[in-house]
Homo-oligomer: 321 residues x 2
């Protein structure tokens, strides 16, 4: 029997997503389990293999029908050795995922950073199909990034490439960032950054609609900000405009360096669609070189939460040996 | 007889540099001819082939001993077809260099942008040997850039990748740039940019040493600025510091995206060596992510004007077919 299936695994801080794809990229099955973070995540790989084997039995599949498995992890990955240097949300440190999981499953296992694999997923089966040079930006609690160059993931010398969220946009007196620096793109263009800007706004302006929402709900979300902006609320429009100014400038600068064909925007905030893309494109067009601009288009990510497992399956397909 | 030589050609606005390398990268011979820009450069390729054939005769070599030729051109290159879209300093537009020169020489000919090939040259035989992920920044009248990723030139979708000089560093009210935008890195970190800053300084400060130099010589050069800074001249130190602030910030931001092993500084200004690298490293270290910083080192370019022909020979070696 020819090997014809791919296993994609996306390890997150609260759940582990898994999926089986055909070699052509059709999603056959997907499911998820909770992430057991006890004892620095030492039960996770066994949990995964038990769950995968149950699924195989259920679907009447066997290991020898699989080309391999790909695993995405939020953290620093030693790609060459299939080892996690450090995954703060999971607890793994110097953890040889590839060899352990490979033994459990009887399959070759490829490991990469989850943001890189999400970019590969959108390139393989999502908004970036056939765009061999692609940037994925995920706007959520942070700003994540993954870069595809000539149809492959860009890793750099230490697997750190694609850290677009930590490009410095406010060099002096910017807000502190989780990475230890300050003024990073993530501090102004993430959901967290936009909500922080909203809070700063209502401190000085208790008449604003955003202040009312905060009083009613005890919080402000990016959905609130986009909803207010749809009603032409000045403060909300200004917040989105500020965030997209920084994102557009950063994206244009990166595009002047990488000359991508497609820039895919994913993550929770990307649900705002054109309300986000319109100001983003405006600032991008202001700062990108004409020929860079001409050859690039923006798109909203299509795979949502499945991008990670799709990219993991792609990694299995293209890199498992 | 085995094919064992490589021909490297670097077409510039005033001269065309040529060199013969062994397949291992030893420089056997180099020479140059003047660039004849008459009739939009239509004599250039014939001039090159006449000169190459003379050299071959002189050295008792023949076409069939060569693997191929590489040609670097300052302009926009259609890599795939070996065509120049537009080389403003030469006069070529939609010009099929590869096929014409290949006919003249009886060799496969590979064409690329000159800055890209300079980066490849430093990677192959210069300051970046074995650094598979490398950035070359050339500081001269402009700021040029070339990027090596996984041991190959990064081109992007339209051959525009590496335009690091046109990353926007001053988004509001920056100086106009040759590219049509304003506030580009090139406007503040090139020789031209530093001299402009010196002129702005002496407008307000006729007591400065730089003002005296301008009065004596009718001009100010970057050499003057670095010489004054060596004598602790406040204005000169501030100019260099400003330029390196922008260069360090831009380089750190690009490094957060590319995670390079080596950042090579070339071009005329790089002659300042440590006087330039010291402030550059300071700002780079401020804005680069810790793990990106740890894995990267700065170096001054080693090949000088030979980087272009070396990279062209490398392109012939790795891409001629």
């Amino acid at each position: 029997m020819t090997e014809s299936y791919l296993l994609g695994i996306d390890v997150g801080g609260t759940s582990i997503k898994m999926a089986i794809f055909s070699n052509d990229g059709d999603l056959m099955e997907k499911w998820s389990i909770a992430t057991n973070k006890e004892k620095d995540g030492e039960y996770i790989l066994e949990d995964i293999s038990v769950s995968v084997k149950e699924k195989w039995q259920e679907m009447d599949l066997q290991a020898n029908q699989f080309i391999g498995a790909g695993v995405g992890v939020p953290g620093f990955v030693d790609i060459e050795h299939g080892t996690i240097d450090f995954a703060v949300n999971i607890g793994w440190r110097d953890y040889p995922i590839s060899s352990i999981l490979s033994q459990h499953l009887g399959l070759p296992v490829v490991v990469d950073n989850d943001a890189n694999l999400a970019a590969a997923g959108e390139y393989w089966r999502g908004a970036g199909v056939d765009a061999e040079d692609l940037i994925l930006l995920t706007l959520g609690t942070g700003v994540g990034g993954g870069i595809i160059v000539k149809g492959d993931i860009l890793h750099g010398v230490a697997g750190m490439a694609g850290e677009i969220g930590h490009v410095t946009m406010i060099p002096e007196a910017g807000s502190p960032c989780n990475c230890g620096k300050s003024g990073c793109l993530e501090t102004v263009a993430s959901a967290t950054g936009m909500v922080r800007m909203a809070r700063e706004t209502i401190e000085h302006n208790t008449n604003s609609r955003l202040y009312q929402i905060w009083q009613e709900n005890g919080e402000i979300t990016t959905k609130d900000i986009f909803a207010c902006a749809e009603n032409n609320d000045t403060e909300a429009v200004t917040i989105i405009n500020n965030a997209m100014y920084y994102l557009g400038l950063a994206t244009a600068n990166i595009a002047n360096v990488l000359n991508p064909e497609k820039i895919v925007i994913g993550g929770g905030v990307s649900g705002a669609g054109e309300d986000l893309l319109r100001p983003l494109r405006f600032y991008y067009d202001t700062y990108a070189l004409p020929k860079v601009k001409e050859h690039s288009t923006f798109a909203v990510a299509e795979l949502g939460n499945d991008a990670g497992v799709a990219g993991a399956a792609w990694a299995a397909k293209t890199k498992a040996k």
